[in-house]
């Protein structure tokens, strides 16, 4: 075997271990105790329920708003399309506590939106709504990016044929585009959910209480030390592994044949 191959395999293996070992160690060390704490630790149960609920709400909002945006950016060649696409990626590029601070500016009590929401009886900062907002802000770009990729994989000629068969644009989307990109959209939603579950930086700025699992794990670490933080961290890791496993199952399932070729003649 050439030296370059040996070196590449060695470096790859080290990185693989570096990525997997901490999580494996965490789950192996504290997974059992974390599971036991689910019975005895009411605060952990509440944090878990809150995390799952807010992540699900954020994902639903992301899917509802992100699907049309992704379709529009992918399919419509309007002026400024590249700029819109770049702007959509912005939340992924800024540090998450900065995202939280930015959200605080827009949704805080002193802001127009936050003030109006308060007038309607909806408190955003320091409430589950704030958690949903933080999760949505940091994870929706991942969904939009995945959804765009899914739409891009659907050959436009399926849509062209459907239109000549009598369907207007929206019905083509429902009858052809959506079914053909559905698997990719679900996968993108799963990634968004997992990302929302594991968010900490933006949430901790906008809503420290009630606590999500990530905030609770940080809180236990700073208040009681590593030993108390470990079971909570292990539960959070397991929660994140759940959608990832589902995602892998979706990816490896057989896909319908989408691209059958055919050049533009």
């Amino acid at each position: 075997m050439p030296l370059a191959s040996i070196l590449a395999a060695l470096l790859g293996s080290i990185l693989f271990l570096f990525l997997v070992a901490p999580i494996a160690q965490l789950v192996a060390t504290a997974g059992g105790e974390g599971a036991a704490r689910l019975v005895t630790d009411a605060e952990l149960r509440q944090a878990l329920a809150l995390t799952a609920a807010t992540a699900t709400a954020a994902t639903l909002l992301g899917v509802l708003g992100g699907t049309p945006i992704a379709y529009l950016v992918e399919r419509w060649h309007f002026r400024g399309r590249a700029v819109v696409a770049a702007l959509l990626d912005l939340p992924l590029l800024i540090p998450h506590p900065v995202a939280g601070i930015a959200l605080l500016l827009v949704l805080g009590r002193e802001s127009a939106v936050g003030g109006a929401a308060l007038d309607l009886g909806l408190r955003i900062v320091g409430s589950p709504a704030g958690i949903v907002a933080a999760m949505l802000f940091v994870s929706a770009p991942l969904y939009i990016s995945g959804a765009r990729e899914s739409f891009a994989r659907v050959d436009r000629r399926y849509e062209a044929v459907a239109r000549t068969l009598g369907d207007p644009r929206w019905r083509v989307f429902r009858r052809v585009t959506l079914p053909l990109s559905g698997r990719g959209l679900v996968a993108a939603a799963v990634v968004m959910w997992a990302r929302a579950v594991s968010e900490f930086g933006a949430i901790v700025v906008i809503t420290y209480n009630p606590k999500t699992v990530s905030v609770l794990s940080y809180d236990r670490f700073t208040s009681f030390g590593l030993h108390e933080a470990l079971p909570v961290a292990a539960i959070l890791a397991l929660l994140a592994l759940l959608p990832l496993t589902a995602l892998r199952a979706l990816r490896y399932e057989r896909r319908p044949e989408l691209d059958v070729g055919g050049g533009r003649a």
């Binding site: 399926y158 062209a160 459907a162 239109r163 068969l165 070729g261």
Partner: protein, 358 residues
């Protein structure tokens, strides 16, 4: 009816420009052109998939510019079928059909109904084409756009499908525009042929006219005419051509023409208003014999055989006539009967009417 006047469209860097042609209502049009000439883009522009950037397009008398694809009353069949992979074959066929019985009927006629229980993924390329054709026809379009729809069918199936489609076309009075690179298919099917190259129409008209009277040497060579000679033409006095009568006159305004190319003198019939620079003779029009033949044909040459190439039932023989190559096409059986051999002598003859000057 499909009527394009100065139609243009753009896809990326590719431009379709100044496309003008008419396919009358109920006629069968064929678009011929090399790969990359814009054939598919033309169909997609007519279908409203690719936006029209200039000119006018009218479909069955209605201006099409502002009509979305679903309101143009046409069907589009791509070469690769583009069957919806998430639907069964049966649901593909019924996708846009106004009534299930009609869809079933047309699918049965094309032999696609027997495939209804198969998964789309399990279909061969040819089967996909049949189902795609049935799907488009099930909607009963008044205009059908076909992009090489028979290319993946085996020869027997291609023949039967072609005939059935022709029958349906006549019965329904449908206007068809089909893209093909197969000249035989163009000749067999077409009432109108449109020759496309680099996004422009080179020539359009009746297929036999396009094939026999190409507008330029480029068109002639593209259409596979082997004998294209550059030279000068001289009109012979109207009163003189004693050979004219034997060649069934082309009508008023036509003259006997003497065309000189290298050491060859070719006699032809042409319109006096033209000043042709090329003579085109299709190889099929050139008759070969081992002895001089007495016939009404005006052009007779003796030459030496330099090449014989056989492809199935057809043989092409190249003669060297005083330094100019002349190609004749004849059946392989005739070539065998004549016992032609490279280096041997042969006589070639063709009618003045078989010479197209352009």
């Amino acid at each position: 009816m499909i009527e394009a006047r100065g139609l243009s469209a753009r896809v990326g860097a590719f431009r379709l420009e100044n496309i003008t042609f008419t396919v009358p209502k109920g006629a069968y049009g064929v678009v011929i052109g090399p790969a990359g000439s814009g054939k598919t883009t033309l169909l997609e522009t007519i279908a409203g998939i690719t936006p029209q950037t200039g000119g006018t397009l009218s479909l069955d008398g209605r201006p099409a510019l502002d009509l979305p694809p679903e309101q143009r009353g046409l069907g589009l069949v791509y070469q690769h079928g583009y069957l919806f992979p998430h639907l069964s074959v049966e649901r593909n066929i019924a996708y846009g059909a106004p009534d299930a019985a009609g869809a079933r009927d047309v699918a049965t006629r094309l032999g696609a109904w027997a495939l209804r229980e198969r998964a789309v993924e399990s279909l061969s390329g040819g089967e996909r084409q049949l189902v795609a054709l049935a799907r488009a026809l099930a909607r009963r379009p008044s205009i059908l756009l076909l992009d090489e729809p028979f290319s993946a069918l085996d020869p027997r199936r291609r023949d039967t499908t072609r005939r059935e489609l022709r029958r349906i076309h006549r019965e329904w009075g449908m206007t068809v525009l089909q893209v093909t690179h197969d000249f035989t298919e163009a000749g067999l099917l077409g009432d109108v042929a449109i020759l496309l190259d680099a996004g422009r129409v080179l020539q359009s008209g009746k297929p036999e006219e396009v094939f026999r009277k190409p507008a330029s040497p480029y068109v002639a060579e593209f259409l596979g005419a082997e004998n294209v000679f550059a030279g000068t033409a001289r009109i012979l006095p109207d009163s003189a051509p004693d050979w004219f009568a034997g060649d069934s006159p082309a009508g008023l305004g036509s003259h006997a023409v003497e065309f000189r190319t290298g050491s060859l003198t070719i006699y032809a019939v042409a319109n006096a208003a033209e000043s042709p620079g090329y003579a085109v003779i299709r190889a099929e029009e050139v008759l070969l014999s081992l002895e001089p033949q007495a016939s009404s044909a005006r052009n007779h040459f003796r030459g030496r055989i330099t090449e014989i190439s056989t492809l199935g039932a057809l043989t092409r023989v190249t003669l060297d006539v005083n330094g100019s190559p002349l190609v004749a096409a004849l059946t392989t059986r005739s070539a065998q009967e004549l016992a032609l051999a490279v280096g041997g002598e042969a006589y070639a003859s063709f009618k003045a009417m078989a010479v197209h000057l352009c």
